[in-house]
Subunit: 364 residues, 4 copies
């Protein structure tokens, strides 16, 4: 399978690059008869849009989503849903000095080594601009599962993080530009980002994600365990360096007697170190995972590198860039979560065939 | 796609459970004409085998690998390679008391909720015994890429870890039962594991993995980035809770000016925070990643749980179990790494079509 | 995807060759909780078995099916079902004279050209013996859909065919060794096959197939139309040269006014030129298609060919071969039909999500 | 896998319907560095375009192909190639009387039964207009394999066909509107089509296809045999009812001694009953196959049918329709052939890994 398709039963295939006519995608396998709120799709895209606040890139893309097929009279047809977003504010000239140059910690060099021919403008296909398509598709997938709620938020920026025992009102994350559901920490994050930008530097951070309303039984052992699929989904997002579910890396430092989630009558676990998945299958508890993002690679500073002729060059970011990617990564993490879950929602429908069969068998 | 197949171009499909006649798999897409050293395959399996030291489970499985097809006169045929490993020391009676009972932090309950019918003996398909098939296939995949070396090792057990600046001789990891390439730390790990076992308790840990000899250009943007594929591979292993590449979660606390890997002439990076992958594609540097394992869920202690009728029960492990899974996880991590890399080695062969075409075109 | 896997939601992966330890397969994606009649599986295999009558090959294979996993206490677990059939009567010496020789109209040469290394014994993986695995899997798939009936039969052998207006009792096809449901024609077929064998020659033929009890709505436009999937399934069987659905090639000679199937109230078509599929989707009518088989390529006569060194050689079949393959092809056509239909039965389950969603939504 | 994707290594995913904003697709897996002649793509589409002659539908679509991504400075990037074709002359009002009505031998009813919601305008997604995307992708795939030539042509219309021993100059098929490479027969075909149209009736026909310049070794046993893949590709085209390779259905009436293709030194077969494929793998001979098309279902005559309420209705085609589809089907058959072959061209690249490995191994 080629690399630009995600999912097994619900399949998203995307195209497009930072510069060029448009980006877009085809979402195939979406069931028929689902009412689609296209305004909700646009709102999800707006949350990822560049230029939405002073701490993000100043590129001004309208990011108007155009749906080309698959929806008729407000409801899905069961046929492929195609969508498209134009590139309207790409400034290709900002990248003229980068033709033939490799920016450190970008994909310029690996694309050149792999393909032998590349679009140097804005990182081409390797640009995080590609993720706008994921947000569109994720917002469609969300409408397939109205019974669940996915809430991602920024839990760390650089060395700062939400205090471990802070009470969080996840909905409040939209009240500040860093998308942190803890007001005091949000302010600290914002200060750190402003300070880094002033120095022409950038920061990493962590996006946490919680899913409520999940049904038990999603996930396909042994290779398509739901946690494995989520890990793949998250590591496919630009700039991610790590994924952990539930107790995550901290689990490695624990004992079984601390870590095990006792099961209580009513089938509710006493704790949720598992993070909602056991044996690769949802157990009905909330899903909880964290994704690590590295600091943005484009610095407004001089850096040493080489060009395609392997000669030393000094590279300095021009363009318009985010000093810290995590606030805009929140809707992307949510989108990939929705896509992964919707795929497994559909996959899980064969689990009840035995019952269906019995009823079909009895009614000739 | 069903859940028991791994890979796109090199596909492993596995079957089997902890108890039952046998486990095995089919490895399809393996190129023809490759000489296979079947003794090397058996050696890889022996490294994962239960009962190999005093700190692992005392289940005694010979784990003799039988190859049934795909190899003729010592070389691969290009047809599917099927293999099988018998279950010879399964003691199903040890599990009679668990019929209808859910062990905490195992997959008993999720399998029941998903499938409505399950094999309660030894965890059935959810048992880590399933991974023996991955080790067989990984050892075959390794022989497809003799130019690279995959070395996983135990870097942390519980609270203890290899000191950050320790000089490591990775080959030496096989000199001790915990597979740690740092002698003093290895001894500490072993003591911790013995102590936990004595208390009927268990420990988590971390497996680190380094790959040398990699070519640049492997990985398929945007959804099949090599790091995404490795994350999926690792999270598909039993008891894993996290994955990080290169700088990993630590990257979230760094600034771009610290984190960026400057490129030097000769195209060798000054640092390797990337962990060998940029934009989802190998850059020719060493690959480096870490995998977190939770403590083993089976305790030789009383735990509170419920049965299928949702009544409270007390569960206590009988059977034979590992007090800490990471020493035996090392060959499994290596196997999944080999399988992931071999898949992308084959996928990368289309990258040079343009050149091939030109030469074919000129010779009619 | 590698070439030895069939299906999307229900996936069969097979292995094994004419000679060698065993053949077998893994059937993944089979829903849990289905009661399996293993004797019925063995009966299906027995219908394909060599040596079952005087007009088939005299190779004597017991073809005992061994199921290794996926079924527990008589019911499927939802985990992969692995099975195996031993090669017990392979006479490899019969093929010593064929090492390095290409038999005309066999796959010897193409396997050599593709793979550079091949198993010359009995055609290796290219042998029709491979289809025994399909019959096992097909017989399992049949048990997933007890509401439908697949009946294939021999409708032509060489120049002879069932008269167009003959009344057929499909069950009666098992009363004669050629599996023709028209007694007089069956006798004629048998005579033709005996005569061809006496001359060391072989015959082609046609297998027709009818499916009753189908639900409307199976098939996935536009590339996985059910007829496209059936065509692929049938052309993947050894020695097939053509496939036609419903009116088939005859449709090309008809006018729309003759060919169109008028729709009557009660939604029953007046005619069934469509053969049960419209727009790639079942319409609830019977499925009807025909598959053309070429004459068996192994002749007990001298034929001109070349060896791997491109030198002229004379080839003469030794071994034990069928003079006409269609009687034994009947259960294979049925098996591939069951597998194709079961795959689409499972795929069709997502079509009703909208309704399911509505009910889930209303019950919090 | 959802149904709107074709291919394994080169994957085409399409979207769009007869009416609606646009149709289009994404071609993923296309190697980098290939020079693309976009005018050649447009020419291929023009050959399929409605309204190109008096014997085709008078719908006037410009069918201008817009390529949105994947090509930079004239050469492919290795990233997905997206393309789009607008619907500019769709007359939705022609279909108002068909809302809720099932046209005989169309997909109206099966789409309704499967999806519960459908676009009744022009057949929606089931319209043959969908095939324009295949032609675009096929024309791109052709440029990946400049060494081969695919020539489809009309060999039968209704009862008339090209005489069996006629000498054909395949290039001459473009000299007449029916795309028949035999001038006298072409005239006969044209007369038949005009006569049928005058009567408000339609005709079926056969498209034959020859491929020259093929390499040996393409095709993946056992389920992805090249003939199986071609059969699937052809039966996925609207209105097809049959596929045969080489000798096809005629093979069923032959004896092995007539049918076998003797192999001559120089590895050239004496005959080509095989049609270029043995054991599912190309043998280097020309590929030859035939595809049967039923008569167009839309008649300008009254037909009996029912509506969604199951009430009897009389249906009469308005709109603009082809009286015989085969002349415009020629470029579609060619496109699906190119796509199938390009996929297997890429798949075959792993066959030479053993040699590549040896050379890589020797150079450290």
């Amino acid at each position: 399978m080629a690399g630009n398709t995600f999912g097994s039963h619900l399949q998203l295939t995307t195209f497009g690059a930072s510069h060029g006519a448009a980006l877009g995608g085809i979402l195939d396998g979406f069931p028929a008869g689902i009412s689609i709120d296209t305004a909700a799709v646009q709102r999800a895209v707006d949350r990822r849009r560049p230029g939405q606040s002073k701490i993000t890139t100043q590129r001004k893309e309208g990011d108007q989503v155009q749906i080309l097929s698959g929806i008729f009279e407000g409801k899905t047809l069961g046929t492929p849903i195609a969508f498209q977003i134009g590139n309207t504010d790409a400034k290709s000239k900002d990248y003229d000095h980068l033709r033939g140059v490799y920016r450190p910690s970008h994909a310029d060099r690996t694309y050149q080594l792999k393909y032998g021919h590349r679009d140097h403008r804005g990182g081409g296909r390797a640009s995080a601009r590609e993720t706008v398509c994921r947000v569109v598709a994720g917002a469609l997938a969300a409408q397939l599962m109205p019974f669940l709620e996915v809430n991602a938020y920024v839990s760390a920026v650089g060395e700062a993080e939400i205090p471990p025992d802070a009470a969080l009102n996840l909905a409040s994350r939209e009240d500040n530009p860093v998308r942190c559901p803890h007001a005091a920490t949000a302010q600290r994050f914002e200060e750190l980002i402003r300070a880094a930008r002033k120095e022409g530097d950038t920061l990493g951070g962590i996006v946490s994600c919680q899913v409520t309303g999940l049904q038990a039984g999603w996930g396909e052992p042994v290779f398509a365990k739901l946690d494995a699929e989520l890990a793949r989904a998250m590591l496919s997002i630009n700039a991610t360096k790590g994924f952990e579910l539930g107790s995550g890396f901290a689990a490695s430092r624990m004992r079984g007697s601390q870590h095990n989630d006792g099961i209580r009558p009513g089938q509710k676990n006493a704790t949720n170190h598992a993070g909602g998945i056991e044996g690769g299958i949802t157990n009905g508890e909330d899903l909880f995972f964290r994704v690590a993002f590295k600091p943005v690679a484009t610095l407004l500073r001089d850096q040493q590198s080489v060009n395609q002729a392997d000669e030393p060059v000094t590279v300095k970011g021009k363009g318009r860039h985010d000093p810290c990617v995590v606030p805009r990564a929140v809707p992307i993490v949510e989108a990939m979560t929705y896509l992964t879950l919707a795929d497994h929602f559909l996959r899980s429908h064969t689990d009840r065939i035995a019952q269906i069969n019995r009823s079909q068998n009895s009614t000739p």
